[in-house]
Symmetry: C2
Subunit: 299 residues, 2 copies
C-alpha cells in the first residue's frame, strides 16, 4: 500500500499541478445533465452524478486532486450518497486523488464509524471511498485518533480544520489563549496526532486545512507543521490570493493544494458555449497561476 502523500506527490509531479478542484454541485446544473430525468431526489442525484462525471473529465489533465463537498450529495439522501460513490470511483479510475470534504468529527467510538465510512475498505471488498478526508477538531485529540489509525493502516490522508477561510472563523478559532489563538493550539494537536510514518517524499499523512484568506496564520502553521500536507480553500469567490500560498510550500509542491471550486466548475454559467470546455479552460488557467507559486517557492 502506498503512502497517501507519495500518491499525491506523484500526481502533483505528473500533472505539474497543485490545483484541487472542489466538486460543489450547486443547482442549476448544465441543462444536458437533466435530460430525461425528473426533479425528485432520484432524478436530481443522477443529474448531479452526470455533472460531476463531466467535471472530472474536463479537469482531469489539470487537477492534482478533486474535493467533493459531501453536503451537496447528502442533501439528496441515499440517492445522493450513491452518486458520490460513483463519482469517487470515476475519479479513482482516472488516477485522480479524492479528498472527501465532509468535516466529520465525533467521540472516538463514533469517529471510528466515520473512519470506516471514508478511509477504510468497505464491506463487500470495495476499496475506501476516499484518499483523504477533512475532519473537525472541536472534540479533541481522542476524536482524531480513529482517523489517524485508519490513515496508518490503509495509506489514507487527513486534513484537520485548523484555520478556515470564512469570516466567522475568528469566533472560535481566533479566541486568544495564553498560548496564542485557539487555532494555534489546534495546530499543536495536529502535530501530536501525526504519529504515522513520513512518506518518501518527506510529507506526512496528517495535514491541515488553512484558508488562503489567512496568510499570517498560514506562515505560522507551516512553521508548526513542517511536514503536513495543507489544503488551502478560499481562492476566487472567497477573495483569497494565489500568492498567499507561497508560505505554504516546504519540502515538496504537494505540501499544499490550492482549492478552486465555483471559479472553475460554475464558469460556464451565462456562457452560451460548451460547459465542459469552459470548465477545462478555467482549470488550466488556475493550474498555471497556482503552479507558478508552488514551483517558485523557496525549498
Amino acid at each position: 500500500m502506498t503512502h497517501f502523500a507519495d500518491r499525491l506527490a506523484a500526481r502533483v509531479e505528473a500533472t505539474e499541478s497543485v490545483l484541487c478542484v472542489g466538486l460543489d454541485p450547486r443547482l442549476p446544473f448544465p441543462s444536458d445533465c437533466h435530460r430525461g430525468l425528473r426533479d425528485d431526489r432520484s432524478g436530481l442525484a443522477r443529474a448531479m452524478e452526470r455533472y460531476c462525471l463531466g467535471l472530472i473529465e474536463a479537469v482531469e489533465p489539470f487537477a492534482a486532486a478533486v474535493k467533493p463537498q459531501v453536503a451537496f450529495f447528502e442533501a439528496l439522501g441515499g440517492y445522493g450518497l450513491t452518486a458520490l460513490e460513483r463519482v469517487s470511483a470515476a475519479a479513482a479510475e482516472r488516477g485522480l486523488p479524492v479528498i472527501a470534504d465532509a468535516k466529520r468529527g465525533d467521540i472516538a467510538s463514533t469517529a471510528a464509524a466515520y473512519a470506516a465510512a471514508w478511509l477504510e475498505p468497505r464491506p463487500g471488498g470495495e476499496p475506501p471511498l476516499a484518499d483523504a478526508l477533512t475532519v473537525n477538531p472541536y472534540l479533541g485529540a481522542d476524536s482524531l485518533e480513529p482517523f489517524t489509525a485508519a490513515c496508518r493502516e490503509h495509506g489514507r490522508g487527513l486534513y484537520v480544520l485548523v484555520r478556515t477561510s470564512n469570516p466567522g472563523s475568528a469566533d472560535v478559532q481566533g479566541l486568544e489563549t495564553p498560548d496564542g489563538p485557539v487555532w494555534q493550539s489546534v495546530a499543536a494537536l495536529v502535530a501530536a496526532a501525526d504519529t504515522a510514518p513520513v512518506a518518501a517524499c518527506g510529507l506526512s499523512a496528517i495535514g491541515a486545512v488553512v484558508g488562503l484568506t489567512q496568510p499570517a496564520a498560514l506562515a505560522t502553521i507551516r512553521r508548526l507543521l513542517p511536514r503536513a500536507p495543507l489544503l488551502l480553500p478560499g481562492l476566487g469567490v472567497q477573495g483569497g490570493d494565489p500568492g498567499a500560498a507561497r508560505a505554504a510550500y516546504a519540502s515538496h509542491p504537494a505540501g499544499a493544494l490550492v482549492v478552486a471550486a465555483r471559479s472553475v466548475i460554475e464558469v460556464w454559467r451565462g456562457d452560451p458555449g460548451d460547459w465542459r470546455s469552459a470548465v477545462a479552460a478555467a482549470a488550466q488557467e488556475h493550474r498555471r497561476t497556482t503552479w507558478n507559486v508552488a514551483s517558485h517557492a523557496p525549498a
Copy 2:
C-alpha cells in the same frame, strides 16, 4: 407548523419521559436481523434497518425522542443513508421526534446544503429527514446561520456542541481565554444565534449539547442559555450520573433530554432471551431514573 420545542414538550409530557434513545447500530446486530441477507453493504444496511425498526418499536412507549447516530449509517454508503431515511420515517409515524446526530458544520454556503439535507422539506415533496440536528460550532457564527434559518422556517431544532462528554473535550473546548474557557464563548455564540421565536412552552429551538460528565459546565450553560433545550449524552458506558442532569432543568422538563445508547440498545448482548424485551425493559428503567430527576428539579 408547530415549533420544535412545543412538539418535544408535548411528547415529554405525554410519555413522562426525558429519555432520548441513541440509535448507534454497532455490529453485531441481533441474529434475526440478518436472516436471509448477505454481508455486503446492501445486506448489512437492511439488517441495520431491521435492528433500528425493532429498537424503535421497543422503546417507543418510554422514549421522548430517538437520536440516530449518522456515522453508522454513513459507513454503509448510499444503502446506509437510505436505511436511515426509512428508520427516520418509521419514528416519525410513531410520533417519536428524531434528533439526527450528525455533528455537521461548514462555511455558510455549504452549511445551507446540510440544512437542506436534514431540516428542510426534501425534493419530491417529502418532509424533513429530522426534527432536530446536532451541529459543530468550530467554524463560527456565520456557519450556524443557515441552520438557525431552517429552524425558523420549518419548525426544526438545533443542538450545538458546546461541551462534549469525552475526555478529549478539554483539548479545544477547555482552553482558557480571558473570558473563560472556549466552551463558554461557544455558549455565548449559541445565545446570539438564537433569534427564532420562543415556543409556547418557554423553550427555544436553538439548543446545546453538554456532556453529563461535565456537571459544572452544565450549571453554567443553563445559566447562560436559560431557554435552550439541552441534549445530555454520557450516561452509562461513558460514566455520567443521571443526577448530574438536575442543574439542566429550567422552565420545562423538555429543557433537557438525557441520552442513553449502548446501555439501552445493546443490553440484549449475552442474554439468551428476546432482545426486544430486554431493550424495552432497559428503556423503561432509564425513563424512570431520568424522569425522577427531571420531575423533581426546582422550576
